[in-house]
Amino acid sequence: MQINNEFKPKIVAFCCNWCSYAGADLAGTNRANYPADVKIIRVPCSCRVNPMFILRAFQRGADGVILCGCHPGDCHYTTGNYYARRRMTMLFSMLSYLGIEKERTRVEWVSAAEGAKFAATMNEFVETITNLGENKRLEDLRCKK
C-alpha cells in the first residue's frame, strides 16, 4: 500500500476481450491484488489497438500504457495478436525516438486462465512506472485545464 502523497501513476491497460480481459476478471475472482492505478479498456482484440490510442494516452498524461493480448497462436481471431505485436514494435521504437522510455510501454500475452500472471504483470508494471516517475514528454498542455 502506498502512502497518499506518493506519486500515483496513471496507467492505461488495453485488454483483448477473449484472453486478457478474462484473465483480468480471473485475477479479480481469485482476489489477486494489484494497484488501483491500472485502468482497463476492453477491446475485441489486441489488433484493434491503434497506435494512435497509445499516443493519445501519453498526450493526455498517462504514465504508462500496457497492451495485453492472447498468447501467440491462441488469438480468438487467429492472427490478431501478430498484427498487434508488429504494430507495437514499430510504435515503441518511434516512442523511444520521441524520448519516451521504453519501459513505459509494454506488450504482454495473458490468457484467460492466467489471472495470477495478470496481477503479477500489473504489479511489476506499476512498480516500473512508479520508479520512472511522471511522464511529461508527450503531454499536451492544451488538454490540461
Binding site: K10, D25, G28, N33, I41, V43, R48, R60
Partner: protein
C-alpha cells in the same frame, strides 16, 4: 449531449465492501450528461432491472451505464433490460467495478476513486455509442460429426432423430471406434458389442445419416451456420456400392502377414480385409501398402474372385465438399505408447500387455478367441498382476499429468472377470488410489475385493523382469504393510494412460477451436458450457474433450446433439453487430484492409460517386460482409485513410475512454 442514466450495483457486499457505492452514484450523477443516478444491492435481479427500465422511461434516457460485475458476466442481461424499455441494446455500457476493482483492491478510498474513473470512462463511451441492429445469416440444416466412435454415433443418431441430416466422417474403414474392441462394459458387465452394434446398424439404416468411412476432413472454411468442409475419401479399391461384404476377397487374399489393427497387432490379417464381422459399412478394404497387386503388379486374385465386380485397383482418393451448419468433434482417444516405461518390460515380453490388449484377449473375436492365454506360449496364466496409473498422473515427462479416469474401473472389471472365469488364478492389483466416482462404481470395485478376492495392494510396481522360465518377476512396494513384495507372475497388465487421438490437433487448427496443453479440446465454459467449443458452431463429444467412460461419453454426445439441434432449428442466426464498417467517402480502395482480414470478409466494389457538376466519378471502395466479419478490428488499424471503423468499439469511443481515464 445524450441523457445518460447511471446504475451502481452493490453486488451484496462484493462491490459495496470495498467501494463506496453511494459516493460513486453521487459523484457520477454530477457528470454533465448524467440525468439520473442511483445504486441498488443487486442490479441484475428483477427488481434491479425494473429500476433501470423505469428510469429509462421516466427520465427519457438515451444511454445507460451500469457499474457492476464484468461485462462478460451480465452485459447480455442488461442489454435485454434496456431493450425491454425500448432503448437500443447497444446504447448500454458496463463499467467493471467488481472483478477489476472491488475484488482486487482492499483500500476503500482507492477502490471508490477507481470505480468513479471507470464509470466516467463508460459514460464517455456511451455518449458515442450508436444504435446497432444485429444482422442475420442463414443456417445450413446439416451437421457434420467427425469421428465415428460411440460418441460420434450417439451424437449423429440424436441429431438425425430430431430430423436433421448428419454426416459422419470416420478415418477407419468402419465406424464403432474403441468400443468395438472392448469385451464387457462396467459396471453392469454387459457385452460391449451387443449394445454397440445395434447402434452402428441404426446409423447405417437411418436415412438422415450418411457415413463417410475411410475418410478424413481435409479443410474447413466458413463460420457458424455456414461451414464448408472438404472431405477426403481415401481409396479403398473396393466399390462401396457394389461390395456385398461376402468376404471372399478377404479369405482368398494371399498376403496374410499384415498386423491386425483390430487386435492391436497381436495377430495378422490379409491385405484385403474387413476389420471385423460386424463392420459398418460391411465393405472390404484393400491395404495398398501390403497388397501384391500394388507392390509387384502380379496378383489380382480378389478381382477375379469377386462376383460383385466391386474390386477396382484404379480407384483414387476423391474429395467431396459439403456445407454444414454445425460441426461436432468426436475424435476420441488412444492408449499412450508404454515403450518408454522399460521398467515394465513391455517390449521385452509378450506377456506384458496393455489393458486394451488384455481386453482383446478376453473378447471372443480376439486373437485367442476369448480364452485367457499368455501370448507367448498359449498357457493359461495362474498369477496376473495389474499395474495402475501407467503414464497417468505422471509429471516426469514420460506420461500424462492428468488422471485417465477410466483405468480404475476397467482394471476392477478385468480382475473380477479373471477370478470369475478362472477361480484358480491369483490376481493382484497395484494401485496408487482407487478412484471410483460414479453410480454403482465403488460397489463394483468393492465386489472385486470382497466377493471375488482380488488382492488390491496400495503401492506401485517398481520393476518387472522376465525370467528364463517364462515367468515375470514383479518387484513392488506394499505401502500399508511397509514391505517390498516379490511376485512371480505369468502375466502383467498395464493400465496405460489415454491421450487424445493424434488427428485432434490438426483438426482443431482447421476448426480454429482451442485446445489445452494435453491436446484435449477446450470447452467454452468448464462448468456451464461443457459441450461447446469457444468457436461458435463447433461442439465437443466424448474423450476429445477430456477422459471419460462410456456412460459419460453417451451423455455428452446427447448433450452435444441437443446443442446442435438447437442451432439447426433456427432459420437464421443473428450476427454480432459489432463489426467493421467502411466509410466510403474516405475509402481509397487500397486493399490494405482486405489483406489483413483473417476471414476474407472484405470485398471491393466500384461505386458511382458522380455528381452533376463534377461529371462521372467511379471509385473502388471496400465493402464488409457483416455475416462473415467477426469484429476483431485488424482492418481498422491497418486502414491508412481512416475509413474503417469498428461498430461498438469505434476509434472515437476508445479515444473517449482514454481521455476519461487519463483526466
Amino acid at each position: 449531449m445524450r441523457r445518460i442514466g447511471v446504475f451502481v450495483c452493490h453486488c451484496g457486499t462484493n462491490i459495496a465492501g470495498t467501494v463506496d457505492v453511494k459516493a460513486v452514484a453521487e459523484t457520477l450523477g454530477k457528470e454533465p450528461a448524467v440525468v439520473f443516478s442511483t445504486d441498488y444491492p443487486y442490479m441484475c435481479s428483477e427488481a434491479g432491472q425494473n429500476i433501470i427500465k423505469e428510469a429509462i422511461k421516466e427520465h427519457k434516457l438515451e444511454g445507460v451505464v451500469v457499474c457492476s460485475c464484468s461485462p462478460r458476466m451480465h452485459e447480455a442481461t442488461f442489454r435485454k433490460t434496456v431493450q425491454a424499455a425500448g432503448l437500443n441494446p447497444y446504447l448500454l455500457e458496463v463499467a467493471n467495478i467488481r472483478e477489476q476493482c472491488s475484488w482486487i483492491h482492499k483500500d476503500k478510498t482507492e477502490g471508490t476513486a477507481k470505480a468513479i474513473v471507470l464509470g466516467r470512462a463508460a459514460i464517455a463511451k456511451v455518449q458515442l455509442n450508436t444504435p446497432l441492429i444485429a444482422g442475420e445469416s442463414p443456417v445450413v440444416k446439416r451437421a457434420l460429426v467427425i469421428g465415428g466412435g460411440i460418441a460420434g454415433i450417439q451424437t449423429a443418431l440424436d441429431i438425425a432423430d430430431a430430423g436433421y441430416e448428419v454426416d459422419i466422417v470416420e478415418k477407419q474403414p468402419t465406424i464403432g471406434g474403441k468400443m468395438t474392441q472392448i469385451d464387457k462394459t462396467f459396471p453392469t458387465l454387459d457385452c460391449s458389442s451387443c449394445i454397440l452394434t445395434p447402434k452402428m446398424v441404426d446409423c447405417a439404416q437411418n436415412e438422415k445419416i450418411t457415413i463417410y468411412s475411410y475418410s478424413e476432413v481435409e479443410a474447413v472454411t466458413g463460420f457458424v451456420g455456414n461451414f464448408s468442409v472438404k472431405i477426403r475419401r481415401k481409396a479403398r479399391y473396393v466399390d462401396e456400392t457394389k461390395c456385398t461384404g461376402c468376404g471372399v476377397c478377404t479369405e482368398k487374399c494371399p498376403v496374410k502377414n499384415v498386423p491386425n489393427e483390430y487386435n492391436l497387432g497381436m495377430d495378422n490379417r490379409h491385405a484385403a480385409y474387413i476389420p471385423f464381422a460386424q463392420a459398418i459399412p460391411n465393405v472390404a478394404v484393400i491395404d495398398a501398402a501390403h497388397c501384391n497387386k500394388f507392390k509387384t503388379g502380379k496378383c489380382g486374385l480378389c478381382q477375379k474372385l469377386c462376383s460383385a465386380g466391386a474390386i477396382n485397383y484404379e480407384q483414387e482418393d476423391t474429395i467431396i465438399e459439403e456445407k454444414y451448419g454445425a460441426i461436432v468433434a468426436a475424435t476420441g482417444y488412444n492408449p499412450i505408447s508404454v515403450d518408454k516405461y522399460d521398467e515394465f518390460a513391455y517390449s521385452q515380453s509378450k506377456d506384458v500387455v496393455t489393458s486394451l490388449e488384455f481386453e482383446r484377449i478376453l473378447k471372443a473375436d480376439g486373437p485367442t478367441e476369448g480364452h485367457l492365454q499368455r501370448m507367448s506360449d498359449g498357457k493359461q496364466p495362474k498369477t496376473i498382476v495389474f499395474i495402475q496409473c501407467v503414464g497417468s498422473r505422471d509429471t516426469s515427462g514420460c506420461g500424462k499429468e492428468y488422471c485417465s479416469k477410466i483405468c480404475c474401473m476397467y482394471t476392477a472389471k478385468h480382475a473380477m472377470y479373471c477370478r470369475e472365469k478362472y477361480p484358480d488364478t491369483e490376481v493382484y492389483v497395484f494401485y496408487i488410489d482407487v478412484r471410483t466416482p460414479g453410480k454403482n462404481y465403488d460397489e463394483f470395485y468393492r465386489r472385486a475385493v470382497e466377493q471375488y478376492g482380488v488382492h488390491y495392494i496400495k503401492g506401485m510396481v517398481g520393476k518387472v523382469s522376465p525370467k528364463a522360465d517364462g515367468t515375470l518377476h514383479v518387484q513392488a512396494s506394499d505401502l500399508i504393510s511397509n514391505e517390498q513384495l516379490h511376485i512371480s507372475a505369468d502375466m502383467v497388465v498395464l493400465a496405460a494412460a489415454i491421450e487424445p487421438d493424434k488427428s485432434a490437433r490438426p483438426l482443431a487448427t482447421m476448426l480454429t477451436a482451442s485446445m489445452d496443453t494435453n491436446d484435449f479440446f477446450t470447452e467454452a465454459h468448464a462448468k456451464l458450457r461443457p459441450v461447446e467449443s469457444p468457436t461458435a458452431g463447433v461442439f465437443l463429444s466424448g474423450v476429445c474433450q477430456g477422459p471419460k467412460d462410456i456412460p459419460e461419453t453417451v451423455a455428452q454426445a446427447g448433450a452435444a446433439a441437443s446443442k446442435v439441434i438447437g442451432l439447426l432449428a433456427k432459420n437464421k442466426l443473428s450476427c454480432n453487430p459489432c463489426v467493421s464498417q467502411s466509410n466510403e467517402a474516405m475509402c481509397n480502395g487500397c486493399s490494405t484492409c482486405a489483406n489483413v482480414c483473417p476471414y476474407g470478409a472484405i470485398t471491393y466494389e466500384d461505386k458511382d460517386f458522380s455528381r452533376r457538376k463534377d461529371g462521372s466519378m467511379i471509385r473502388r471502395v471496400a465493402v464488409v460482409n457483416e455475416a462473415v466479419c467477426q469484429g476483431c478490428g485488424a482492418c481498422t488499424v491497418a486502414c491508412p485513410s481512416g475509413a474503417m471503423d469498428l461498430k461498438g468499439f469505434s476509434t472515437s469511443q476508445i479515444m473517449a475512454e482514454v481521455d476519461a481515464i487519463c483526466k
